[in-house]
Amino acid sequence: MEKERFLSVDCKSPDMNSGAVADQVPRPFLDLGWEQPVHHDAQFESAISSLVSSPSSNPSAGNGSVVVRALIGRFGSICDSGEISQTSCYSTPLDSPPKLTLPVLGHQQQGGGGLPMPGTMADGQFTPFAANPGFTERAARSSCFGAWSYGGLGDQSGLPVARNLSRVPSSHLLKSAGALQMGVPDNGKDASKSNPERMEMEMRSKLGGGMPPSSTSGRTMVGGSANNVSKRKAASKGRGKESPLSSSNLYSPTAAEDEHPDAKICKSAKTNGADKDSVVKQETEQNIGASQKKGKENNAKPPEPPKDYIHVRARRGQATDSHSLAERVRREKISKRMKFLQDLVPGCNKITGKAMMLDEIINYVQSLQRQVEFLSMKLATINPQVDFDLETLLQENMHQEHEPLPQQVYPLEGTSTAFSYAQQPQGSPLQSAITNGLGVSQQPLCPTDGLADATSQLGNFWESDLRYVVQLGFGQSQGAEFFSQSLHAD
């Protein structure tokens, strides 16, 4: 969708400016972006190719320029058709379409401003793209995007952004928030540092538990255990923005002298971001898990739920009681398990959304069960044919990795004679048995197939056949006659 295009462009343009190396980062976005109708781009590519300046000659950069062209094309299409994508919030940025395109083109003509371009594009497009849950997930995966978009966005559209973000399901927000939180410290060197504060405030106020778990956990991780404890206590008190002062006081060692509860947390994030970008960047889930673990280690069970709750921020205007917080914790658990299942089931990496993933999981379980049924049928058909001694041998084979032992032949021969007896009419069963016995006897002589090794086995065969012959009830005399004849014939 256009949102993905915008996203990719957001990543792309600064990358193009910064260097070709970074092109690889947004490539997944490109791939994702290209899922959607690509045919639209072709029309605009040729028209706008002149406008786009591709600084590097890399193929990836060329890709980026194509994407940029596609994005411009998208702009054009949007402006022309007045097409409104999935969300209604598009209407506001579309109020002045020419304004949007012109600055973009202008920027591109200038060679692509780094931040301004994504800024102008982002503020128009951020609202719709944010509402796409899958997109936010992908956003979460690339920290650069988060940094760029927020860097450009934080100044302009505050409330609308937050408002739209609130529509996104919390699970996605969690990831996106975490990524954004991580992405922000990465670029914390620039003016975007001020933006994350605002962004965080808005996000936290609107989203509630989405970002804060990761952000607070990240902060607590970096701050240190003592600070963590104080921060947790402070955060619990500060829930609902009731006592910012106390929290800020507690927080002063690590943060600046800011008294605003939100800004305080943002400050801590900033300091954390400045100090340990990589740590925060690493894994937000790790932080969550680690902080939770720390919580468990530090305190006994009663404080443990509060520790989980502390990472959860109540939404603005929502009840801050334990119910919603417990709900959030529960949702985190569920999302955790879903992620684990995603790893387990092959081919679930690309699928986003709980419902579709559950679909995949159900299909996989059903297919596995069907396979088991099919294999059990197969085993059932094979079972009567083979003696169970064979199975033990096979088991030994499987375990010890030996090739089938020659002893295998013994029961096989017995079964083969049984078969021959069963198949042929009663007229010459004895003869067939004897011929089989003869055949068996001859086999050891001609070493064509390494079935039988020792003469002892041959003797066994003879014994079995003889016994078999006797059992046929032809009388010992006849059996003996035949046997002698066969011996003579041999």
Binding site: G289, A355, I361, L368, S376, N383, L412
Partner: protein, 184 residues
């Protein structure tokens, strides 16, 4: 995803993941299962049909699970006394005959957190698929499903190996039989 959940540093989560995921993937587990499977197959009368084989295989699988998971307990106890004991929950009623679908009262409440009717329906379907996990809450259901999926994978692998080995053996037998008749 930025970090695979299995590589998380959290000990508690890692323990759980390790328990569920790697428990079934070890060769030792597979060996144990194979042995049990063979015993079970030998015990079943070959003429009982494929269904008995499947049940034997499932019971062997549940046995290998040592009853640590909900579904394994359900399988083992379901076989033991058919439909006599539904002790999945404390104070479960004894039901005879056809199992009627229980009212899904606990399920929506538990699974309501993710929201969305689709998700709830799918969770219910998943609960029906995994044996003995109908009235489970969403997180535990997902955990059971993960364990069950891993166990099924192992079962399929072991059964396929066994079937291939047996069929190879029977092929040998057939070849040997043919060779005999030809030679004679």
């Amino acid at each position: 995803m930025i970090s695979p959940s299995s590589s998380s540093a959290s000990s508690s989560r890692k323990k759980k993941m390790k328990r569920a995921e790697t428990k079934w993937r070890t060769a030792a587990q597979e060996r144990i299962y194979r042995r049990r499977l063979l015993e079970a197959l030998r015990a079943t009368a070959s003429r009982a049909g494929p269904r008995a084989v499947k049940e034997a295989a499932d019971s062997a699988l549940a046995l290998t699970a040592r009853g640590q998971s909900q579904w394994s307990r359900a399988i083992l106890l379901g076989r033991c006394r058919p439909r006599r004991k539904l002790l999945l929950k404390a104070g479960g009623k004894v039901r005879r005959g056809r199992r009627r679908p229980r009212p899904a009262a606990p399920v929506p409440v538990a699974a309501a957190a993710p929201a969305g009717k689709k998700v709830r329906d799918r969770l219910r379907v998943l609960g029906r698929l995994v044996p003995g996990c109908r009235q489970l809450s969403a997180p535990s259901l997902l955990e059971e499903a993960a364990d069950y999926v891993a166990a099924l994978e192992m079962q399929v692998k072991a059964m396929r190996a066994l079937a291939d080995a047996l069929s190879a053996a029977s092929l040998n037998a057939a070849a040997a039989g043919e060779a005999e008749s030809r030679v004679v």
